[in-house]
Subunit: 358 residues, 4 copies
């Protein structure tokens, strides 16, 4: 049941890094939504490898093939099956890693849990699985767009380089202007240079994605175990390499007192608003109409082009060194994935909220 | 469906702050487990108000009454119903807050979502609901204890006062020696003094709980949307006032490179272990046999004993000032709740893992 | 997860025949519904033992105590906890059956599944558990009443005595006029006499409950694994002693051809209707606006007041003879339970259907 | 969430009759199971159209393509994606039915529920969707075979022609010897002739499939809302055209008393068994080790080659007459689908049962 995400809107995903392809079934997508195939492709392009010099050099142009649930350009309410076919799936020789547990990868845990593992490119544990999320997230974005909800993410930290200002200080229209996906173009350039240097070293580096949801109506979120921020946190922590989640002021707010952190209400020309938004748009687990914002930390990619100690499948100490083309930093490519997971969560909760009153 | 937590092991909770009581139904608890009622009560006592001078002065001695599912001292596999009766539930006059939205509370969002709200003491949104979690968590702990899994949490930060060392440097047997639930007794005293001062001011302060799970077998966790750390994150973010979650090195690890963050495997006297544990005991979403550890940030309590601006139910600007006895800091009382949520999550995933192979 | 029923509207039930009580948590009940406590009690009275000479002589007047989720007479959208306390729970000596597996009861299967069982009065497997369904069903009926949906069940067969006419031929206002809950008062009298005779013999007899749902809007039901009739069938088969379910013409329609069974559409004064209703109001798993009707078969109660062969817990052949007061026929008391399960199903699907379009 | 079936073992299906294909994602299939592709194909061949003169003449040789979750011939525990591509999907002109609601089909209810429908060949409501069930069911059968559980179904009634004996009287090895899938070859011939005659008339006829599960261990089934027979009933009622479900003696047992229906236990050479099996292998919702058997009624196919009255999408009365090749009777082809649904249910419950004790 755990290859599915969502309650009413639900993605069930399948596929391995070097199998036939990555795909899924999207259930509970509202009927009658116009499907913009170009938009889906554009979202996939934002995720794809080889899109810039700071991502992996593997040039995979991922094309989605929809298999059901769309008729005459609109969703029918029936499940939407889809697949992105893998290319060159047999092209590589995996003899060197099939019996070795790569450090900080899922090789060891999969082997012990399942007693068998698809060792080609990480198999199911590969971040290539996120293709299914980007496709489903693109559809969710389309639906949300119709009701005025917009979701934007950007890279706010790479290693030691970080944006110091609040999200409201940045011009989101510039995010795609730099391969770093950072709205501060100067910092973005620093990030790109730093990642390039890390890549040169054969090493990797982590960072932070900040995400902002604007236009979310009041009332989304389900007490007490379906709080909106808990759902978002769960969604984010399911992304490969995610290590931390905070919403609103998060860790930063800990040094402030209640009298400083409380968001007081006031009547703003007939609309109830809060003067500040330390809460991050969610109170008691329910959206309050203010911007929802949160941050997700990603660790450095585990695959480094250096020799590392490890053990083999027989438990014997050995060494290994990865070859090939790998991402030195997941950040720029993680941005559309964060948006996709947020979009699926919000659409799901929007639909659930419709059942609150008769 | 959102007042339930867990998949196979599942708590369905009910109750409001000033209703008849707080209770729940625990489904999927394994049969044949000896139920230690004293242990459950001891856990409730760790959560209860009035336990020390730095918690609220309300002295509620919460006693659990089990209603089903236990026979001759053992669990039968049937659902375990329980209730903790509220006392003095009609003792207070709520006229002054029934038409006012308290800042950074759930009054406003509940009112708009449901069109009605139980305004007595926060109703369903009150942290008193966590009683049900502590009861269910105590049962989960009992079951986990039988298979050698132990869960310990402690206060690692209050306001600006924080423990700087790794969890492994502290003596967990000292946690209950200070009302702050901090294993560093000196820092614990500082925290107690600081909280007392904050209380004096009528203000509140937040902090961090660190939690460590020892003895967790390899293999718990479900790819790809049921990763163990995502489940833990979701559990933690469902606790009242939680604002952030990080596992392993979390945000701290962002400045390090992959070559520094990777946990290399080695054969330790016949057992495969990792030399370091930046991963926090979870790789690819699955436990790897190392200690699992994570941190949860809690914001300052929203109820402060100061005048605040707000609006009333008609949207008119007004002011309010809370009266009565409130917690200046949730931290010490959040510790057993964090443990309870972790215990439920781990037991649930332990049971789920049994279905992996035929 | 299996002591819960429903998706959005969900009952989680607990309790054993001779434990402290029977209760549950109702989640997802719409907010703002006026709760008529007298109606709930009236439904419980229709289910209770001792209500007439053809039910068990045990006189249990079951009173429900609501524990949460209702404020100032209305539902708040928070979970509704409730309990019906058992009386005289320790009054009986179970020494004679604790080590014996009663034929066609759940003693044997519970013992082998769980390794332990509450042998007092059947424990969890007792039909006393249906109290929780009747309470939750009564709330569901209230909500459905507001949207014009009404559910009526009646006894249509007891042993060889059966009603031969279609449901539309009977006057439902007469159902409660006979202890048999049969709208044909003459047949009802026959049933009562027959059950009295069976009781005299110390034996038991089964029968059929027919249920009709009027006013159900078009569109309820979820393809393909949540067909409305499949959900109803599942609900009915979960009732103790249920052996069969059929909707529309069911088994009866097998001898007719498609040309005879098809329900042709026509325009009836501006409304699309079907000329016949062999489909039972459901087509392709979705309600079509016509009456929904179905039949549920119940086997004779397993407890008979005669000596029977069986084995004990050590597998040794032995004999046993039940004592005390038992129902000779579940039918009259099953009627409100069938209605309750139908009401919960329809309300759940009504809420789910709200999520179909944006 | 309703295009998914099962809890731990879960099929999420997609696809329409005349879309690109029918497929699905199988989650929770145990790892390490050897996958026999020929067996899967053989099961699909038992379902496919055009297999005999009494099925539709459409000759669709459905080939399954597995997309993930299988590595080196074995299941990996990762989700198994698959698709059966449709052929000639654009070959037909649907102008004549796109604006008409075919009687007793799902055209009308889909249109009103979703506001849009794929009218080509019934779209999602077509029984072609059952392809996904047969594929997933074939995998489930493989896993069950390893633990000694075998599932067999056969046609026991077509129109007025029915088998009068208990399932134990028939030789299951003969089921596939007649296109009717009836183990009584003489009756099977009668059925074939009758169906041929019905086909000649342009009409359709229904019937009954009986299913027997042998070797099911004691203990499968979850009280109280997950009773094994309720799960089987739900599974069967989800099949297109299913109208009724009964297990054990079902409706037939209603005329017998408890003293005749009870299954007494005895010690059979050291094994506890029941002398009779009116219960159908399930007591209190849990398997008791005896054979599980049940019957499913299917209505006549709604598509008849005769003129019928109906209304069009504007509600105007009109007539229509179906053209093309259609099944005169679903029975022979429903047999493998019943088996598939039973296999998925039993495997799911087998896995769930592993979580009962620690």
């Amino acid at each position: 049941m755990f290859n599915s995400f969502g309650n009413i809107f639900r993605l069930s995903s399948f596929g391995e890094s070097h199998g036939k392809g990555i795909g899924g079934v999207i259930d509970g997508f509202p009927s009658g939504i116009k499907i913009d195939l170009d938009f889906v492709q554009k979202e996939l392009d934002r995720r794809r490898p080889g899109q810039s010099k700071i991502t992996t050099d593997r040039d995979e142009s991922d094309k989605v093939e929809f298999l059901s649930g769309i008729f005459q350009g609109k969703s029918t309410g029936s499940p939407i099956g889809f697949i992105v076919w893998n290319k060159n799936q047999q092209s590589k020789d995996y003899e060197n890693i099939k019996n070795i547990f790569r450090p900080s990868h899922a090789d060891y845990t999969y082997q012990l849990k399942y007693g068998i593992r698809d060792y080609r490119g990480g198999g199911r544990s590969s971040a290539r699985e996120t293709i299914s999320r980007v496709v489903a997230g693109a559809l969710a974005k389309m639906a949300l767009h119709q009701i005025g909800i917009n979701i934007t993410a950007y890279t706010s930290q790479v290693g030691h380089i970080r944006l110091d200002e609040d999200y409201s200080k940045y011009d989101f229209s510039k995010i795609e202007d730099t391969p770093a996906r950072c709205p501060d173009l100067e910092k973005g350039k620093e990030m790109v240079d730093y990642i390039a240097q890390i890549k040169e070293e054969g090493d990797t580096i982590g960072g932070v994605v900040t995400c902002v949801i604007k236009g979310c109506p009041i009332g989304l979120g389900q007490p007490v175990f379906g709080k909106l921020h808990a759902a978002l946190g769960n969604a984010m922590m399911s992304i490969n390499a995610a290590k931390a989640f905070e919403y609103g002021d998060g860790f930063k707010g800990l040094k402030q007192k209640g009298s400083e952190q409380n968001d007081v209400f006031y009547n703003h020309d007939g609309v109830i608003e809060t003067k500040t938004n330390h809460s991050g748009g969610v109170q008691g687990g329910i959206s309050n109409g203010e911007d929802i914002y949160f941050r997700v930390a990603f660790k450095p990619v585990a695959t480094i082009l250096m020799e590392q100690h490890t053990v083999n499948i027989n438990g014997v100490d050995t060494t290994m060194k990865a070859k090939g083309r790998h991402d030195p930093c997941v950040l720029p490519r993680a941005v559309p994935i964060v948006e996709a997971m947020a979009a699926m969560t919000i659409l799901d909760y929007y639909l659930i909220d419709k059942t609150t009153q008769l």
